[in-house]
Symmetry: none
Subunit: 216 residues, 4 copies
């Protein structure tokens, strides 16, 4: 473990600033949360991308959202094969233990993972097809989405459509989990699909009645 | 997809507030980020827990941190078996594509996933041993950590020690990835282990010279 | 009970509108709240005045704030005499059962109760001195505040000062409750005093370091 | 007063959002309300419970409802003994000074105060019988209601019936106030009893002709 280093000083400074201000203001609440446990209202599944600042966009404070972040905000289908499925574990914990009321899948523009998937499926990124490519194998989840948009000739247009497919495929996969389907049926859970334009700050949500994504 | 609903109004209101204030203030930067791509300085791996507000603690702004969040901030060992490994994909993308300078593993107090792992390994949660338990199979990653702390008799003390093992096991697993080990060797990457006390607002970091966690 | 009438139709219409929109959007969350119980972060004590729209000002959604509203946002001193004390009961429930992190006393401009107290103490409203005046006896709680501002000659100025005394006297009385004092001492509760200008939309908060109320 | 703290930052943010949007939109009306005084149409008496969002349900805007909120929406009987009666003061002010047209008592499901009363009267919560229990003494108001439902064996069923008794007892007590009885007799005031199901979003109102509560 000699390869591990102390916290970089620029982060020490920021942490000390938080401790002296926001923590001081909210100490009682944070102690309450520590002792009484979390009761988040929603689970948000979004991309690891550093430009998707979901806590800022939704004014999140401590205790409000159970956040799972992975490459391209993907949820794989229900596969109870005894292997390690981090995303499925997060969904299981949120829905069955925390009983969140909403699962929100938030996609975004300029997604590197989605662009890589498009390149891989188009034959332009053979290295992603390699068995040892973790990113490639993870993006396999989005292949059914690529099949639906592959007829779009223009690359930028196709990639943008694929970003929204990343949301839709995840929503479709979510309902393959029996505990998700049951919570929806009994009126204890709703699903929501969003796509965020990083540069323009827009959010579109999927509205089934409209058959597609609509600006909020 | 008729089970999908529009964005709840309380989140619409918050988003509109962000759009009218923070987005307006930073539009030029957000457009820059959209066009020029992300260049995050660090990857942070932390828990999905709603009480771990990592963006607040480190004053994160858009574009700064590549964030992967899963149950109990775990990284599995390098296993290039062609299966879907969301965490390994995130690490691969951060280190090989984004070339982040730091990978920070942030554990925390009062972790439900770690407590579940302790119960499972102690024989008190047989349901987590079930092949179909996604949380149980995910927490298998932490079993080597349990082996090191199982001699601690007091449950609260043992669970607290296991929370720090969740950080250490992840750091140990990180260096099993060849691209991680290479980036460290060549001086392009450092690893960092943190543990956050939710109620008291403290952060401890792992300092190898001290042989353990030390308050920042 | 023949004096009781059905709900007026204008309220039926509004309720049906809420049911068809906001309730539909949040049904899963409301069912969660019904089954899992409330976990409000703060108790807010404010006036019954129809112009103090505290839920709008703080963007309150269901489950966030435990709200006690009485005439002039007053808290009486700790008096465990076995009589009925509605405000003391509300404080007791919030602090000991719900373990809220904040108790916020919100006063406001143009307060009819405070103006009545000023008139009563100045000798201009003898009817409020009557033993049978519930408003008069309730406003007796604010008499210690009147003593501190009675030297102010200008009536408007004196009434405005008395509105802030209504906040300060309540805060002083709050710490006479042993369970409030204990929760503060142990770092689980903080008190906050606010005054709201209805016409201008301003909020001032009491900042002890400044020795008075300061615009937020 | 050194125990008092400034307003927590998450509420500052929400307040600033309100100021920049809703206040700006309605400034003229809010200034009007400040200068001309309030003229609310109805008084609503409801529980402090954070899940009873009465302003949302009835689409309340500033100036519309005089709101009194206490534990379990109780009104004590007319008792002009010179002691402090916060609820009686609020009723007196609403009916004699503001001359509201309606007094609405709104009960609700999952009420912690009512459940506590049931436990106290059933002998299962001796601590609530203590003279120093403010919640216990306040819930004494509901004892006549318990007498009417105590023959119901099933606890959940009995508590639900007691929630509606909290509305009926309050309505009965309201008419013991001479000024309330007079306003009703002269046709200037009507009383209304409601019960709200938090999880299902339903409202039932008391309809004397039906001899009970009926879904709106």
């Amino acid at each position: 473990m000699k390869r591990v280093r102390p916290l970089p000083s620029y982060l020490v400074q920021r942490y000390k600033g938080w401790k002296a201000t926001k923590y001081q203001d909210n100490q009682a609440w944070y102690r309450h949360l520590a002792q009484e446990g979390q009761h988040p209202r929603a689970m948000i599944i979004c991309c690891c991308d550093s430009r998707v600042h979901v806590t800022a966009i939704f004014g999140a404070d401590q205790g409000e959202f159970f956040l799972h972040r992975n490459i391209a905000n993907l949820v794989p289908p229900f596969t109870p094969d005894g292997q390690q499925h981090g995303t499925s574990a997060a969904v299981e914990y949120a829905v069955t233990a925390l009983k969140v009321a909403h699962v929100i899948v938030l996609g975004h523009s300029n997604c590197g993972g989605v662009r890589g998937c498009d390149a891989m499926c188009s034959g332009d990124a053979p290295e992603l097809n390699d068995k040892t490519s973790f990113v490639g194998r993870w993006m396999d989840i989005l292949r059914p989405g690529y099949e639906r948009v592959k007829k779009i000739k223009d690359t930028e247009e196709r990639v943008a459509a694929l970003e929204k497919q990343a949301v839709l495929v995840s929503l479709e996969n979510l309902v393959t989990f029996p505990f998700v389907a049951e919570a929806i049926e009994s009126g204890h859970l709703t699903l929501h699909g969003l796509w965020h334009d990083i540069g323009e700050g827009e959010i579109e949500h999927y509205v089934p009645e409209e058959g597609g994504f609509v600006t909020v």
